[in-house]
């Protein structure tokens, strides 16, 4: 019993927690941007798959790691453009388009994988990002390695939160994005194109989602395999709600969630085979549903979320 608590004080636990949180942070920020602008992006799961594959493939083909990240982001943005074009000016159902994009992105990825690597049995590996310790800070007990001995991509994830928060709340562009999600006619009446803002937001958000996927193949692990994303995208949608559409709170949610995930792995090891491992694996998903229920009651959601905007309709 005591061991169950002692886990919380080990550095390795928190290192794992932050590592697990990193892809969630990217993808949650990405979805948050989309939803703040008024667009629900259910393509997140598929876009993460695309990002994971595109980034990995670029490195496998000889590119350097950061170039791989850039390619992943671009691939994500491309799907974001598709999503935005279908849902914003054409006003198609955000639910259906999102699911369609997830199906398309995933199947396209698997198809391309099989075309590019037809005969492999075990997925080939690349040299991923290595941990980059920050001098002095990484020597602090427990939190030191957890926060300051991670790969550069993790540092980028945290930086992304700060950037997103700054842009949303302290720049004219962020103001326009938030207004687009609250009352698009207010945006249009001030001479800004709602279509441009929303499509732009979805593209940027999708790029971030793809980078989140790329984290898995380029930082957490070092190869791409099917079923890699395994529902993380959907969990990020719950995390956006849990964070009340605010970057700081969403970051907290992602870290808490990842800590829980890291914890259940270790708890599993502790209990041996007494409890079926599937129950542990179920917990993240159950937790997400609980988070949604708890937070939905105080929903401070963007008022124009999922409502398509018809220009000139009065």
């Amino acid at each position: 019993m005591i061991e169950a608590f002692e886990i919380l004080f080990t550095a390795s636990f928190w290192v794992a927690a932050i590592r697990i949180a990193s892809p969630l942070i990217f993808a949650t920020m990405g979805e948050l941007i989309c939803e703040r602008a008024g667009v629900l992006n259910l393509g997140i799961e598929g876009i993460m798959v695309v990002g994971a594959f595109a980034g990995w493939l670029t490195v496998y083909a000889g590119g350097d790691l950061w170039f791989g990240v850039a390619v992943a982001a671009l691939a994500g943005a491309a799907f974001g453009l598709l999503h935005g074009t279908l849902t914003v000016p054409l006003g198609l159902s955000q639910h259906v388009v999102g699911i369609g994009i997830t199906l398309l992105a995933t199947s396209l990825t698997y198809f391309t994988y099989r075309v590019v690597l037809p005969e492999v049995t075990s997925p080939p590996r690349i040299e991923p990002f290595q941990p980059l310790p920050v001098p002095l800070l990484s020597d602090v007990p427990v939190l030191g390695p957890a926060l300051f001995n991670q790969t550069p991509l993790t540092y980028l994830a945290f930086a992304t939160v700060a950037i997103v928060a700054w842009v949303l709340y302290r720049t004219p562009l962020g103001l326009a994005v938030r207004a687009a999600g609250e009352n698009p006619s207010a945006v249009e009446a001030q001479g800004i194109s709602v279509t441009a803002i929303r499509i732009g937001a979805v593209m940027v958000g999708s790029a971030l989602m793809a980078v989140g996927g790329a984290f898995l193949t380029m930082s957490a692990f070092n190869s791409f395999f099917f079923e890699m994303i395994n529902g993380r995208g959907w969990i990020c949608i719950a995390l956006v709600v849990f964070g009340s559409w605010r970057p700081g709170k969403a970051l907290l949610g992602a870290v808490l969630f990842a800590a829980f995930d890291a914890y259940q792995v270790r708890l599993q090891q502790l209990t041996g085979g007494a409890v079926p491992y599937q129950l542990f694996l179920m917990m993240p998903f159950v937790l997400s549903i609980l988070a949604l229920v708890v937070m939905s009651r105080r929903a401070a959601y963007p008022k124009a979320l999922m409502i398509p905007y018809q220009k000139g309709e009065r």
Partner: protein, 349 residues
């Protein structure tokens, strides 16, 4: 750019755009085939032959279509009421689990009693599974897309747990699979020597029944009204929450029948790979059919044909069979655009 509502279009136009969607899908898929180093014409030819080029192929296609008809109906029913049931996969497995629990010898009843009993129980299980997200939606305003999706993952893990535990086949050489259902619980084959079973017939009957409900009953009217405009429906006196609950029951039940049908008619037992995504493919089937129950049968056969044909083509031409999923996903997106174009004109100014 804006959209302008069109007056009711002729039947010809209503069909023109969906056909256009199919054409667009073929064109895009051709590009992928070329990228894979094969000739689109030969590949599509192989797919077509693999889907319907022989009696064997055609029956395989119909066999593959059977669960898709059920999940397609489940999604069509739900989407009509704007209940976004993305959890057909979990509901399918719920039906499969019940089929195995009741059909592997626990109930020594004759076929005419046992099979309907299992069907009803399976439907109840699927319905119960969708009821949860439906209640969360009506009571707490939780978006059912995410909850039903998350349930899919939970259910798969649950099935895995059962197959390694309570439902494990003692004679199964250690593989996680369930026992086989008894003969009385099995759906007989329609054509001896082929895999097509009476689940297909049940599926057709279900499609006709759903069509009747949607078009001719008060429940169908209520579902459509709620789907189009819940606020106006509520104002008119339609019990919106009650209708959503009934929709959830019907939709979950239909998806569960897919699981029942696969176990009792095709596989005979439950394994983790019982469904290669039938629940998700059901969404595409429903959208291609424009949520029309009778159209679901056609769309299911069409999609099944693509998958069956692609499998056969892949063995012959080496193009990865994932091309089928790409085609199907592309068809979904182009179809959604096409449906919109039948109702609205795009005006640039």
């Amino acid at each position: 750019m804006r959209l302008e509502a069109k007056p009711a279009p002729s039947l010809a136009v209503t069909l023109l755009f969906p056909v256009g969607a199919v054409v667009a899908t073929l064109v895009i898929s051709s590009l992928l085939v070329l990228a894979a180093g094969a000739s689109p014409f030969s590949v599509f030819g192989l797919v077509a032959r693999g889907a319907a080029g022989s009696q064997f192929a055609l029956l395989e296609t119909l066999t593959r279509a059977t669960p898709l008809i059920f999940t397609g109906l489940a999604v069509a029913v739900a989407f009509r009421a704007k209940l976004w049931n993305i959890g057909a996969e979990a509901q399918l497995y719920a039906g499969a689990v019940i089929t195995v629990v009741l059909g592997t010898g626990a109930l020594p009843l004759p076929s005419p009693i046992l099979i309907p009993l299992i069907m009803v129980a399976a439907m109840a299980a699927g319905a119960a599974l969708l009821l949860g997200p439906a209640i969360l939606k009506t009571r707490f305003g939780v978006d059912e897309v995410v909850t039903t999706l998350l349930f899919n993952f939970i259910m798969l893990l649950f099935v895995s747990m059962l197959l390694e535990g309570v439902l494990k086949d003692p004679m199964g050489l250690g593989w996680p699979q369930s026992q086989k259902v008894i003969a009385d619980a099995q759906l007989p084959r329609i054509v001896t020597g082929r895999r097509l079973h009476y689940g297909f017939v049940i599926a057709i009957v279900a499609a006709v029944a759903v069509w009747f409900v949607m078009k001719k009953t008060t429940l169908g009217y209520e579902m459509r009204a709620v789907g189009h405009n819940p606020e106006a429906a509520r104002f008119a006196g339609i019990p919106v929450n009650g209708v959503l609950m009934k929709t959830a029951l019907l939709s979950g039940g239909l998806a569960a029948l897919a699981g029942f049908s696969e176990v009792a008619g095709l596989k005979g037992n439950l394994t983790l790979d019982l469904s290669p995504g039938f629940g998700y493919t059901g969404i595409v089937v429903a959208m291609l059919a424009m949520l029309n129950p009778l159209g679901v049968v056609l769309a299911a056969v069409f999609v099944a044909g693509i998958f069956v044909g692609a499998d056969a083509m892949s063995r012959a031409a080496g193009v990865p069979s994932y091309i089928a999923q790409v085609m199907v996903a592309t068809a979904l997106l182009t179809m959604v655009v096409a449906i919109m174009l039948t109702r609205f004109r795009v005006r640039w100014r």
